[in-house]
């Protein structure tokens, strides 16, 4: 039984299927099917979803309005349920690329039906309403290289007739952030409600459980599931650690307690936990505007970040000035991290974030308000201020557009 060209064709169908079972993204699964006829016929055309929470009716309401800090009476609440919406971040590159080339695009897509996609803003939940005129309606993903980077989640409310309700009128259906977690066979969701309270739901349970973090009024900015426990930080910088089984919350020493930073986020990067605190210096901005004739050294954008790394053995945080080639992404619906070496096109040792004052006139495109904070230079700016890195979210490059049909002989 020596190696020969047809060797893998002698693999029985059930073994091929066993191999395909171990592919964890739909892209890999489709590429498996696209190899040859025996491989294609060894699996069904549908990629088995690894997420049992999709297409489930999730409980509503989260808790009584009073407990969620909403002043409207509970009788005002609409009737319906939540559904978990999943979107995927894809990193695209041309098929043939020189080692030095940094050509790439990071897009976020929601896939309501396999093959039918909706383009979303990369670092927020906004759907892009209008694609540019020359943007192709259909893309063939075999024409470029696609890598799944991660998933982001949201909770969408549907009334009893199945109609989605997105109105801001009903505060009880507005969710700031939701993360999915799994431990063995257990799956669940942890969310931060719009008014800042934490709630958890596990597959099989009928109701959400509000997390009691010991404070009178909680107003959490971010929550993350890290090494089997939840870490949550509120707008004042207070951190609590929540046990995944008992839901008991204990306070943890925080490096940003009492900071005047505006937004605090956790980012997991290569097994380590980071805390990113964003400072938007309104006062500095106003001062610079008013005294622009005498202020010499004005940073273009008075935004900066303080980054901390969690030292688990000591249960404390270290301020970091250098994160190597890592890139930390702070999005509304999820945070994540990539290596700029493995993913060319991103500037290493930087934080990518969104900021209202970066918003350009055309706000109906991915990355319309995205910016970069360079940890080394300690300066922040919109993407356009970083030549060579500004086109990572938009516009779609030439190699993405379909090739003209081959001439038939």
């Amino acid at each position: 039984m020596e190696s020969d060209a047809g060797q893998w064709s002698h693999l029985p169908k059930d073994l091929l299927a066993k191999i395909a079972e171990r592919l964890d993204t739909r892209i890999d699964f489709l590429h498996f099917r696209g190899v040859c006829s025996p491989w294609m016929s060894s699996v069904s055309p549908t990629f088995p979803s690894k997420n049992p929470l999709l297409s489930l009716k999730l409980p509503y309401p989260i808790a009584s309005n009073a407990n969620l800090n909403i002043s409207d009476p509970d009788t005002c609440n609409p009737r319906g349920s939540f559904s978990l919406i999943e979107s995927t971040l894809f990193y695209l590159q041309p098929l043939r690329q020189t080692p030095d080339s940094k050509e790439a695009l990071l897009v976020k897509l929601e896939e309501p039906k396999p093959g039918k996609v909706r383009l979303l803003d990369t670092l927020s939940r906004c759907a892009i309403q209008h694609l540019p005129k020359n943007f192709p309606k259909v893309l063939n993903t075999l024409n470029f290289r696609v890598r799944e980077v991660g998933k982001a989640y949201g909770l969408r409310f549907f009334d009893v007739r199945g109609k989605p309700i997105t109105s801001f009128e009903f505060k009880s259906i507005l969710i700031k952030k939701v993360i999915m977690f799994s431990k063995g066979d257990e799956y669940g969701l942890m969310m931060i409600h719009i008014r800042g309270r934490l709630a958890l739901w596990r597959l099989g349970e009928e109701k959400w459980s509000l997390i009691d973090d010991g404070a009178e009024k909680s107003h959490f900015d971010d929550v993350i599931y890290y090494k089997g426990r939840f870490y949550a930080i509120d707008y004042k910088g207070r951190i609590v650690v929540i046990d995944a089984d008992s839901l008991k919350a204990t306070e943890l020493a925080s490096p940003v307690h009492g900071s005047r930073g505006t937004h605090k986020h956790f980012v997991e990067s290569f097994g380590e936990l980071f805390l990113v605190d964003k400072y938007l210096d309104d006062e500095l901005q106003i001062f610079c505007n008013d005294y622009s004739d005498i202020v010499a050294d004005v940073p273009d954008y008075p935004v900066h970040f303080e980054v901390f790394k969690f030292i688990e053995e000591e249960q404390k945080w270290d301020w970091v000035s250098d994160i190597g080639d890592r890139v930390l992404f702070v999005g509304d619906d999820r945070t994540f991290s990539l290596s700029s070496t493995d993913f060319p096109g991103f500037k290493g040792n930087c934080v990518y974030f969104t900021e209202d004052c970066f918003c350009e006139e055309d706000d109906d495109r991915p990355g319309f308000d995205a910016g970069i904070f360079d940890l080394e230079e300690r300066i922040a700016g919109p993407l356009s201020a970083f030549p060579g890195y500004s086109k990572i979210f938009w516009p779609p490059p030439a190699w993405l557009r379909p090739r003209p049909p081959a001439q038939r002989s």
Partner: protein, 301 residues
């Protein structure tokens, strides 16, 4: 002197047992301790629990009391008593073997090991599996050899080579386990689908997995995982043969490992690149090709 001295033995869990010296010296080990003058206080027996020590003392008492007569009747009565004595659960039986060995009570060692040898002849596949794991756990291979308790199996590869393997290791294969159950394992087990080269590797894998305790500690599991990762660093032909062998021999963990390895070789590649890696031909019918094109589309809303 008519009265015999009293010896006190202390079990591993701290219980004290008083017995006459004449009974205690059924144990060669205790006999030597008394001769060396170490028996003035209680003799500690850190390897023997009170439960087992009680049984051992019961055995020694009975054998001292019964006259070694020429008459068959008395001997038969003792033999019947012995047969009842060993009607205990497997774990207790093995603990008795270990105690008899440690205490140097030859007749008890004979009795218990012969009982195990007879048991194995009557056992089903699952039971044999448990027994062999117990034997391996308590390092009883030497004793088993003396008492002819078969602890090894012979496997024969497709190219005629013989492999002499511990039963506990061979039991990692469900296929072989069923053969033992069905009594097909008395001679060499032929494996016509597996070459000697592959069988050697499979045996190496099974050995490692049987020997490594499945601990909760991450350290041990991480080490095993690292060993597994190295194990599958082989050329494609060997990987392919390992998958087929793991499937034929029904070794789930090996099948999972090898399939995962192939999946890892597929991840992140385009279909064309996968074809190149696995030397597959693009052999789609026009309809299939259209299906591939369609399912790889993104249609924007």
């Amino acid at each position: 002197m008519a009265s015999s001295k009293t010896i006190t033995l202390r079990s591993s869990d701290g219980e004290a047992f008083d017995l006459e010296e004449v009974v205690a010296v059924e144990s060669q080990t205790i006999k030597h301790m008394i001769e060396d003058g170490c028996a003035d206080n209680a003799i500690p027996l850190p390897n023997v629990t009170s439960k087992i020590l009680a049984k051992v003392i019961e055995y020694c008492k009975k054998h001292v009391e019964t006259p070694k007569a020429e008459e068959h009747a008395v001997n038969d009565e003792l033999k019947a008593w012995d047969a009842d004595f060993v009607k205990v659960d497997q774990a207790t039986l093995f603990d008795l073997i270990l105690a008899a060995n440690y205490l140097g009570i030859m007749s008890l060692l004979d009795l218990t090991c012969q009982t195990v040898a007879d048991m194995i002849k009557e056992m089903s596949g699952n039971e044999i599996c448990e027994i062999h794991l117990l034997i391996k756990e308590r390092s009883l291979e030497k004793i088993c050899k003396i008492y002819n308790i078969k602890t090894k199996l012979t496997l024969q590869s497709s190219d005629g080579m013989f492999f002499y393997v511990d039963v506990a290791v061979a039991m990692e294969s469900q296929t072989i386990k069923h053969m033992i159950e069905d009594r097909c394992a008395d001679n060499a087990i032929p494996l016509p689908n597996v070459t000697s080269k592959i069988l050697a590797r499979v045996i190496e894998y099974c050995k490692k997995h049987v020997e490594t305790p499945k601990a909760e500690e991450h350290a041990v599991n991480d080490e095993l995982r690292a060993w597994d990762a190295d194990f599958v660093k082989v050329d494609q032909a060997t990987l392919f043969d390992l998958i087929l062998a793991a499937n034929y021999l029904e070794i789930k963990s090996l099948l999972d490992l090898t399939c995962q390895t192939v999946a890892d070789m597929i991840r992140g590649k385009t279909p064309e690149e996968i074809r190149k890696t696995f030397l597959r031909k693009h052999d789609f019918t026009p309809e299939e090709e259209e299906e591939v094109r369609r399912e790889n589309q993104w249609a924007f809303e």
